[in-house]
């Protein structure tokens, strides 16, 4: 067995599952509201109960998003010359021949994805509260409604790519979401700057 290195802590993994699970639940129920999907609503016993699930699911998602900032927010705001180089070769995803610059724990694609989720997540959570709790204020309702739906578009576009890149596109990556570990040899290749920072290289 190859020597392993821990990339994610247990609480970090657990929180990511809560974030992912609530996100998918909210997306499915959200689509059901958008297009009046009766079969989906029936799973919850009707649209009224589904609305309750959607609302409280949003609370779970919002809290989980706040917790995630502890681990990812700082790094997602820091970019260097290698990150620029990463964009020049499109992260190595459009050709296997290019050389990708050395990366830290997360590449700039992941960092920008995280910022998009934080931005859209805060917008969708706040506007959700607007629709849920400020029904008497027409302006708040209308603004919240459009913000909620624009943010939803960002989720719908970004999350499937995130799932693809974390599973099929990068074999072995999904394991990190399960036990938080990755082989040291892989870490040295993919995240040399991180490995140097923690003194393993």
């Amino acid at each position: 067995m190859a020597e392993m290195v821990r990339k994610s802590r247990v609480d970090e993994i657990l929180n990511h599952w809560i974030l992912a699970g609530s996100c998918i639940l909210l997306s499915i129920t959200g689509f059901a509201f958008l297009f009046h999907l009766e079969p989906v609503a029936s799973v919850f016993g009707g649209f009224t109960t589904m609305a309750t699930v959607h609302n409280w699911g949003g609370v779970v998602f919002g809290l989980s998003l706040l917790y995630s900032m502890r681990d990812y927010l700082k790094e997602s705001l820091e970019y260097d010359a290698d990150d620029l180089g990463w964009f020049k070769v499109a992260g190595g995803y459009l050709s296997h021949k290019v050389t990708v610059p050395p990366m830290g724990k997360y590449n700039p694609g992941q960092k920008l994805f995280y910022l998009a989720i934080v931005g859209a997540g805060i917008a969708i959570a706040l506007s959700g509260f607007g629709i849920w709790l400020m029904k008497e204020n027409t302006t708040v309702m209308l603004v919240s409604h459009i913000v909620h739906n624009v943010a939803f578009i960002i989720f719908v576009l970004a999350v499937p790519i995130h799932i693809y890149l974390g599973t099929l596109a990068n074999p072995g990556t999904f394991q990190i979401m399960v036990n938080g570990m990755m082989p040291l040899s892989d870490a040295k290749k993919k995240h040399p700057k991180w490995m140097k920072a923690v003194g393993k290289m």
């Binding site: 649209f47 459009i146 939803f152 719908v156």
Partner: protein, 256 residues
């Protein structure tokens, strides 16, 4: 769901000049729909109740508009759901509780209403009201009566013909022949199901000029809703194409 049965579209024609303000329509509506009375206060007008309510699907609005010939002129305008062809409430309703009947009425399924009140924000005429169970209520053109070829309770009871029910095209044709200058609602929002025969400017009768659904709701309905599905399909397809055409990440052989 558009009303594809436009030939059969029914409407109520309101003619304020024929209205005597007896409010029998309000009573008949309450009677048919089994709505309770509302305690109100006199605040200087005979209009009562002061506004549409969950127990008042229609009201006679008392507009005091003195003119030179008639210093005590009152224009009585029946207000209720306009049954827009392009209905903002139906567009925005997330549970499909608001729906179009074969006769062109905008009716609602109380059991499906989730009490989100989005219909209130999307209605150009400030019509939907919520009852104590937090369910939407409004005029539904007596969809249950008209489906059985009866007239709505209000028009049935109107003693002067200020409220008339019938085929929408016929009502408009008759009103035009009778010489009414303005048919309010003929074209607005693709045609309203409550139309008004006015002799004067709609503003004088307390009606909104150029009613529109909030532009954010229209934008959401026309672009964001389709984009959510096309976008999801697009990125999933893009991922599949990437997987097949370029393939997953491979670690390079040790070439350093």
């Amino acid at each position: 769901m558009a009303n594809d049965n436009t030939k059969n579209r029914k409407a109520i024609l309101v003619t304020p000049e024929a209205c005597i303000g007896c409010r029998a329509c309000q009573v008949a509506c309450k009677s048919w729909n089994q709505l309770p009375g509302i305690k109100t206060k006199n605040n200087g007008t005979y209009q009562n109740p002061p506004d549409l309510a969950s127990a008042a699907f229609n009201i006679i609005q008392y507009n005091e508009v003195p003119s030179q010939e008639n210093p005590v002129r009152w224009l009585f305008v029946s207000r209720r759901c306009m049954h827009c062809e392009d209905a903002g409430c139906m567009k925005i309703c997330p549970s499909g509780a608001l729906y179009r009947t074969a006769e062109g009425a905008v009716a609602y399924d109380r059991d499906k209403c989730i009490g989100c009140k989005l219909c209130v924000t999307a209605c150009p005429f400030d019509v939907p009201r919520y009852d104590t169970d937090n369910k939407v209520t409004k005029c539904h053109l007596c969809f249950d009566r008209i489906a059985a070829a009866m007239h709505p309770a209000c028009t049935k009871t109107c003693p002067t013909g200020a409220l008339k029910y019938g085929d929408r095209d016929e009502l408009i044709g008759t009103a035009k022949k009778e010489g009414f200058g303005t048919i309010y609602g003929e074209k607005d929002l693709d045609g309203l199901g409550t139309i008004y025969a006015f002799k004067d400017e709609p503003k004088l009768y307390g009606m909104k000029e150029n009613p529109t659904i909030p532009s954010s709701v229209v934008f959401w309905h026309n672009y964001l809703k389709p984009l959510s599905v096309i976008g999801l399909g697009g990125v999933v397809a893009a991922a599949a194409i990437h997987y097949l055409a370029i393939g997953p990440h491979k670690e390079k052989e040790e070439e350093v």
